[in-house]
């Protein structure tokens, strides 16, 4: 960890004004501090944003609003979340450990960095960390890597469970920068790696996520997050499925489906949703979950696994069909 400057502003404009190319915002610190210790990140200035007024969990006519500094555990337990959006609560509670969930913020969760072992080890090349150095994961240790949205430059998996559910629910993020405020669908926020895996999202330098907005979805109460992993807790997903269904007389009339642990970004599955709307069987719909997958040597099993994760979610919500 390198020496750094530190500021803890209590005003949003001050925070954004302080930020520059070589600064980093600190909320829960559960990603930033780790990566600073590993020398993956070495910001010249750390701006602690915990004093900013970015709190609050509110359900209103335009949906659910969650302040970016709300902690994962608090959001998961909030009545405005747990009842109407079980998929959000489950995704949060299946993440990390209670200690981490008590620290980690919602904004930070959406911006957490990949768990790729090469990204986190400065002794190895990594196009995401050091553009142009190469991607050892293509032929190296890649059991946990992505099969969707990959490129020859990067196959790192997006690590957030929450982001998968929010993409399924068509949530947006509110952003605040020196030029003012803007709102963007989360699905557009993330960038697949392509030739520029170091560019992970559309945040401008110094811009801050201030709020998450989940639009109303009356049938989001019939939703589930299935997370599949080697051990039962405290591990990232090998594959996960966030599914909500509009269920009438046991039949799925509409659905939202996104998957995690398999994509370089949270991966919405419109083809699966369309198949379900068209009345096709759960099996037929789930079989479309890995369309376009490009597995590597160690993660070909994820093709089947992600299909099964979607199928399992559908069966849990709608019973066998």
């Amino acid at each position: 960890m390198r020496a750094f400057g530190f500021a803890a502003p209590s005003d949003l404009s001050d925070a954004v004004g302080l930020a520059g190319d070589e600064s980093a915002f600190l909320a829960g610190g559960t990603t930033l501090v780790d990566l600073m210790k590993l020398e993956v990140l070495a910001p010249e200035q750390v701006i602690d944003i915990n004093r900013l007024p970015l709190r609050g969990i509110q359900a209103g006519p335009d949906g659910l609003r969650i302040g970016a500094l709300e902690r994962m555990e608090d959001v998961a337990r909030h009545p405005a979340v747990a009842g109407p959006y079980p998929v959000i609560a489950q995704a949060l509670l299946l993440s990390a450990s209670p200690q981490l969930r008590n620290m980690a913020s919602i904004g930070g969760n959406l911006l957490q960095r990949t768990r790729c072992g090469y990204f986190r080890d400065v002794a190895t090349p990594c196009n995401k960390r050091s553009p142009g150095t190469g991607c050892p994961a293509q032929s190296g240790d890649n059991r946990g890597h992505a099969i969707l949205g990959t490129s020859s430059s990067c196959a790192a998996t997006h690590a957030s469970d929450l982001a998968v559910t929010l993409v399924a629910l068509e949530a947006s993020v509110r952003l605040r920068g020196a030029d003012g405020e803007r709102t963007m669908p989360l699905a557009d926020f993330y960038l697949p790696p392509g030739d520029t895996p170091h560019l992970e999202n559309r945040l401008r330098p110094g811009e801050l996520v201030t709020e998450v907005i989940v639009p109303p979805l009356p049938w989001a109460g019939t939703s589930v997050y299935v997370k599949v992993r080697d051990r039962q807790s405290y591990e990232f997903a090998l594959a996960s499925a966030a599914v909500a269904v509009d269920l009438h007389d046991g039949l799925v009339r509409d659905a939202r489906v996104a998957v995690g642990g398999v994509g370089t970004v949270p991966w919405r599955l419109p083809a699966v949703e369309a198949a379900l709307r068209a009345g096709r069987s759960h099996e037929d719909a789930a079989a479309l979950a890995a369309a376009g997958a490009r597995p590597l040597a160690g993660n070909a099993f994820k093709v089947t696994l992600v299909q099964r994760a979607v199928l399992r979610a559908l069966k849990e919500l709608a019973g066998p069909r």
Binding site: M1, E39, G117, V228, D230, R231, L238, F301, L305, R312
Partner: protein, 722 residues
């Protein structure tokens, strides 16, 4: 059987216990090791200038600016070569430098400024690629055959069997990940070294430092009363320890070096990769006629230890014909070393899986097959077992677990979306009694101090000291002060090979008995003694003579004798007439998701025949701990070596998976508690390793029963069950 709390429980849960890294002598500076980022080659140069100019840096040691250290030529589980004495790189993650600074952070940050140039060579880093060229270990016995009269070869015995099975079983590299990372604090006073270092035996560290530093053992004092787990990785003394001691000598300041979690993965050794091809032949009634196991283990080029993985096949089941072979694949990887039940843990996975496959082929219940081949004698030596009650373990366990409710047809039991299966396997581990010396001091405050250079890795050994001494001395357990982990105390047994209690237990009793006799003699002979000239006896902590009785503490206070000190030595057991082993039976239930394949262990029972159980409470934890580690071995643990680079692909605790609480079901443990009086009067054999042996086999067998899938390659992850 007695059951008491750990005597060191309160200091551990309150944080008062001081582990190696918790020592801060005045003037302390901090070391941070540099490690190699290629697996094989030579170091062409190191640029240490920026690090040397960094704030707080005291020294930067490299092969080009080294500390004097000598190689350790003893046969050991660690590395014989001394760090920084040459520019050779033997594996990825080898210690190639030490940065010393005023604070830990300064040392760590300066270390990141060092740049190293290598002349790299292609490493031998693929076990699979090395298998065809596997060779017998240098100096080892290539194979062992036991054949019935008139049988020419094991293959002939297999061909003559009614039913045979053959399969190859493989296990990955594993690492110990003990909770406490390795740490050493070294300080010199003149030519005398005091060192706090995480170790499974303080005398082991003394021996290594004697060699490395070229000084006499009498100049070295190693202190380490508390150890945060070992599992074999603190048996050897690794590079950071002599390096830290040498740096402290050169700088004339105390130095502390704590390995980071990532560094522990490579600076310390790991459990080897293994492959075993097992053939079993049996008569139609299940009688084993031939047992054949060709075992191959990975072996680091950096040290001498190798794992004879197939050898358990010579000891567990009776068979008229047995064959084992031993080969190694030499690799440019960190040291291969001992890890809980070395060889036998991996060996049992293959043998216990093969027994299940044989039972299938015979159409026999796997438990009946094991009962059929339970042998009253060691299959190779022919010696009778000293005390073996394995059949009782099987029968009691089957009854208690409900084994009769197992559906013999695989894949037949479904509970919701979960396939349910039952499995069982045999647990076993060798037993011995080494020499051990213990000192007992009876003090004038009525307490007794029991000392010996043993180690308590979290096992409960110090409580065993207290319990056994209290029994002999007839005083409450809380009036005993055990002192372990100090090289200035008598040479008790180190913590390894499940041999602590079997050796130290008898020595504690001998020393306590001798202390009683010494205080009786004092009472009868001391000129101020009220018992002088009487027939003095000792009972319940009191000296008695005539009609009077007096607690020993009061007597010592009255006589002005602060303490009575005796040392006793319990000799090594020669093991000439009997074979000694502990045994047990594992039973488990596993559930596998029918869609996504996750295997989850849902029930466990282990019935244990390990001789006398001194303290049920800590013994139970030992057995449960071995089962938990076995579940990790079965389902999770896999230290992945990149074949191209020799780098460990998952050398962090986030990526190297061990079980968490939710992975572990309630674990039921039952002890038969038959004293093994042929091993010692105490009759305790040892339980540190027993229960990991067979655990992975039991899980694999249950998964087969649940799903019909026979997975012969550990760990059994969900991708193998989809």
């Amino acid at each position: 059987m007695r059951s008491v709390n750990r005597e060191d429980g309160p200091v551990k849960v309150t944080g008062a216990a001081r582990y190696a890294a918790d020592h801060h002598p005045a003037g302390l500076v901090y070391g941070y090791v540099l490690t190699s980022t290629v697996a094989r080659g030579t170091i062409a140069g190191m640029d240490t200038g920026p690090a040397e100019r960094a704030p707080g840096v005291v020294a930067v040691y490299t092969p080009f600016n080294s500390l004097e250290l000598r190689p350790d030529v003893r046969d050991d589980t660690a590395e014989p070569f001394a760090p920084l004495q040459d520019t050779r790189v033997r594996y990825y993650g080898q210690v190639i430098g030490l940065v010393v600074a005023e604070t830990f952070e300064q040392a760590r940050d300066a270390a990141a400024l060092v740049t190293t140039r290598y002349d790299a060579e292609r490493p031998r880093a693929s076990f699979a690629a090395g298998l065809p060229a596997a060779v017998p270990p240098p100096g080892g016995t290539p194979e062992t055959d036991v054949l019935a009269p008139g049988v020419a070869s094991i293959d002939e015995a297999l061909a003559a069997s009614d039913v045979t099975v053959t399969a190859t079983y493989t296990t990955p590299a594993e690492t110990h990940v003990a909770m406490e990372p390795h740490a050493t604090v070294a300080s010199w006073s003149g030519d005398r070294l005091t060192i706090y270092t995480a170790s499974q035996g303080v005398r082991l560290a003394v021996e290594r430092l004697t060699e490395s530093l070229g000084i006499d053992a009498a100049q070295i004092h190693v202190i380490n009363p508390y150890v945060g787990g070992g599992f074999g990785n603190k048996w050897g003394t690794w590079a950071h320890t002599p390096l830290t001691a040498a740096a402290a000598r050169a700088l004339d300041r105390p130095v502390k070096t704590v390995l980071t979690r990532e560094q522990v993965f490579t600076v310390i050794g790991h459990r080897p990769i293994t492959s075993q091809t097992v053939s079993l032949g049996a008569a139609v009634d299940g009688t084993l006629l031939a047992v054949k196991n060709d075992g191959i283990s990975s072996k680091s080029a950096a040290n001498a230890f190798y794992e004879p993985v197939a050898d358990l096949s010579l000891a567990l089941y009776g068979s008229a014909n047995l064959h084992v072979s031993r080969k190694i694949v030499t690799m440019d990887v960190p040291a291969t070393t001992i890890m809980r039940a070395p060889a036998e843990s991996n060996g049992s996975f293959a043998l216990e899986s093969a027994m299940d496959e044989l039972a299938d082929a015979l159409g026999m219940d796997p438990l009946d097959l094991r009962l059929k081949n339970d042998s009253p004698i060691h299959p190779v030596s022919g010696l009778p077992w000293s005390s073996k009650h394995l059949e009782e373990c099987y029968r009691l366990g089957a009854e208690r677990f409900g084994w009769s409710r197992r559906n013999p047809r695989p894949g037949a039991v479904l509970d919701g979306d979960w396939l349910v299966g039952l499995g069982m396997a045999t647990a076993t581990f060798g037993a011995s009694r080494s020499q051990a010396s213990i000192e007992v001091r009876l003090r004038d405050d009525g307490r007794a101090v029991v000392s010996g250079a043993a180690a308590d890795l979290g096992t409960g050994q110090s409580t065993v000291f207290a319990l056994l001494a209290a029994d002999v001395l007839g005083i409450p357990v809380d009036r005993i002060t055990p002192v372990l982990g100090d090289s200035a105390t008598p040479p008790a047994a180190n913590a390894g090979g499940s041999g602590s209690t079997s050796a130290n237990g008898p020595a504690v009793r001998l020393a306590a008995q001798a202390a009683k006799e010494a205080v009786v003699k004092l009472a009868a002979e001391h000129e101020k003694s009220p018992f002088r000239g009487e027939a003095v006896t000792y009972a319940d902590g009191e000296v008695r003579g005539g009609d009077d009785a007096m607690p020993f503490g009061e007597l010592l206070a009255l006589l002005g004798v602060p303490e009575v000190e005796v040392t006793a030595t319990s000799p090594r057991h020669p093991r000439r007439e009997h074979a000694f082993r502990s045994f047990g039976a594992h039973f488990c239930e596993v559930r596998v998701n029918r869609w996504t394949g996750e295997p989850r262990v849902s029930r466990w029972l282990c019935v244990v025949d390990a001789g006398t159980i001194v303290n049920v409470k800590t013994a139970r934890s030992q057995i449960a701990g071995g089962v938990i580690m076995g579940i990790g071995q079965a389902l999770l643990e896999d230290l992945r070596i990149e074949p191209e680079t020799g780098r460990f692909g998952n050398a962090t605790m986030a990526d190297y998976l061990v079980p968490v609480n939710t992975d572990i079901p309630p674990i039921d443990v039952d002890f038969l508690n038959y004293p093994d009086t042929l091993l010692s009067e105490l009759g305790a054999r040892g339980i540190g390793e027993l229960s990991i042996v067979g655990a992975a086999g039991a899980v694999a067998n249950a998964i087969h029963n649940a799903t019909g899938r026979r997975v012969r390659d550990l760990p059994i992850t969900l991708d193998k069950l989809l």
